[in-house]
């Protein structure tokens, strides 16, 4: 247990970074998810194509490969971001693809009558999405979106590979000194579980708050 209590500073720092990264990327992924889901159902074929390619490519590549390519290949074409920013962008983009698919599924659950009604009262494509379809569609998929956010939390641990010292890397660093892998990684694992539980609770509360009683 000394391995844990003697290094609370390192763990705390890692935990803060993990939470920071999770919050930032969740917001980014939500924005991207809505945009890409919209692209995939919009009237312009090119934009639909862009949306499809985006989802296909990002869902089919391992996150670690994307991180390494973004951090090391992009500078060779003259674009360099700081490491935390790079990791945040890549994880947002990656989870954004999953969120886009969840949101698209949510849009599909909205009754056809809603869309017809929206069009009948003269709303345009973007207006009917914004005021009618998305508010209902997003509510329908709060739970799956929560699942994706939990996956996102787990995936922030991969940022360690490109120089971000978050919880997993902090645990690794402590283990390097203490050589107590079981204590160190169980501690880190419990922290992840608690964070995941928190996300689960938040999405549960949101779901109850916004659920549509039909």
């Amino acid at each position: 247990m000394d391995a844990l209590t003697g290094h609370l500073g390192e763990f705390g720092h890692g935990l803060v970074t993990t939470v920071h990264m999770t919050v930032v990327t969740t917001i980014g992924a939500l924005l991207l998810g809505v945009i890409v889901a919209t692209l995939r159902i919009c009237p312009v074929p090119l934009l639909r194509g862009v949306g499809t390619v985006y989802v296909e490519v990002l869902q089919n590549l391992p996150l670690l490969a994307l991180l390494v390519l973004f951090v090391f290949a992009l500078p060779t074409i003259g674009i360099t971001f700081p490491l935390f920013t790079s990791a945040a962008i890549v994880i947002s983009a990656y989870e954004g693809a999953y969120l886009a698919e969840a949101i698209r599924a949510g849009i599909n659950t909205v009754g056809v009558g809603q869309a017809e009604a929206a069009r009948a009262i003269g709303l345009t494509f973007s207006q009917s999405l914004r005021y009618v379809i998305l508010p209902q569609g997003l509510r329908a998929v709060i739970q799956p979106m929560g699942t994706i956010c939990i996956a996102l939390l787990m995936n922030t641990s991969l940022a360690a590979a490109v120089g971000v010292v978050e919880l997993t890397q902090a645990a690794n660093n402590v283990n390097l000194v203490e050589a107590q892998p079981i204590a160190v990684f169980t501690g880190a694992g419990l922290a992840y579980m608690l964070l995941a539980l928190l996300i689960s609770r938040i999405t549960g509360a949101l779901e109850r708050r916004f659920a549509i009683v039909r």
């Binding site: 003259g78 659950t109 799956p144 694992g189």
Partner: protein, 290 residues
């Protein structure tokens, strides 16, 4: 496509169509220009130089990568079969009429949905051997992946079964089938058909999860890519090649799923008479829960 999509905007008129065409051409040109610029920059840094790609034209390097791909596929296949079966049992458990069974299955799913797969790998690696449970290398990767993916599969199956019209179950019971028979003969075949996309996306996710193999010393594709990069000193090229392999394999999987889905879709509509909801929503809410 789906019904909302056709309703959300009118079929574009001649002017709108012209505008869309012009915008499409301009947009496409912009995208192509961006790609050309990126390739040019990439080349001007010497990353396209022939000798940097030469190793990837040799058979031994490809044999190495293909061996690694095979290891990845093997682990993914074992995980898929086992976690699929376990997930189905768990889903049935959660929907069962027996309260303790429901509770157990529910607890399993809730716990293992929130534990990172990496942590489960660590537990199999560090903790279980202390209690005399020491799996061979391959299973050290597959067992934790099965445990965590089974929870995800259970959620997918449950969503699919619940999404099916209650009338199906009621009709089955009405003609005198027992509960188990209704599930086996009526509900599951239909639910599984509709779930194909979600199941495949879970499968792709699981294939990528096998990259955790490096923790337990299982040399799968991504780890072998790292070994190759350190041997050749060609980090960017190696990762591009490895990424391409993943993309091709996973995209073919998804493509296969769509083909299967389309064929099954035709079968079911023909079987059921086209009058009944021809464009049933293909995606259930649980579909992207990985």
């Amino acid at each position: 496509m789906n019904p909302n999509q056709q309703i959300l905007f009118d079929v574009p008129g001649p002017r709108a169509q012209r505008r869309i065409r012009i915008a499409t051409v301009l947009g496409a040109l912009a995208i192509l220009g961006g790609i050309a610029w990126a390739v040019h920059q990439f080349a001007s840094h010497g990353e396209l130089a022939a000798e940097r790609w030469q190793p990837f034209t040799t058979w031994p390097i490809w044999r190495y990568l293909l061996d690694a791909l095979w290891a990845t596929l093997l682990a993914a296949a074992a995980t898929a079969v086992l976690s699929g079966a376990l997930g189905l049992l768990l889903a049935l458990g959660r929907l069962s009429a027996h309260r303790p069974l429901r509770w157990l299955a529910g607890a399993y799913v809730e716990v293992f949905r929130t534990v990172p797969a990496l942590l489960l790998v660590y537990i199999t690696l560090f903790a279980l051997p202390k209690y005399g449970l020491n799996f061979p290398l391959f299973w050290k990767l597959v067992v934790p992946l099965v445990v965590s993916n089974a929870a995800a599969f259970a959620e997918i199956f449950r969503a699919g079964i619940k999404a099916l019209d209650r009338g199906q179950t009621e009709a089955g019971l009405a003609i005198g089938l027992r509960r188990g028979q209704v599930m086996r003969l009526v509900v599951l075949p239909q639910a599984l058909l509709r779930l194909t996309p979600s199941l495949v996306s879970q499968l792709v996710g699981l294939l990528k999860d096998t990259s955790l193999g490096f923790v337990v010393s299982y040399t799968e594709l991504l780890y072998s890519g790292q070994v190759l990069a350190s041997y050749t000193h060609l980090l960017i090229q190696t990762f591009l090649v490895v990424a391409l392999i993943y993309l091709v394999v996973n995209a073919s999987l998804s493509k296969l799923a769509r083909v299967l889905q389309a064929r099954n879709g035709r079968l079911t509509t023909r079987g059921r008479s086209a009058a009944r909801e021809p464009a049933a929503t293909p995606l259930t809410p649980g579909s992207t829960a990985r």
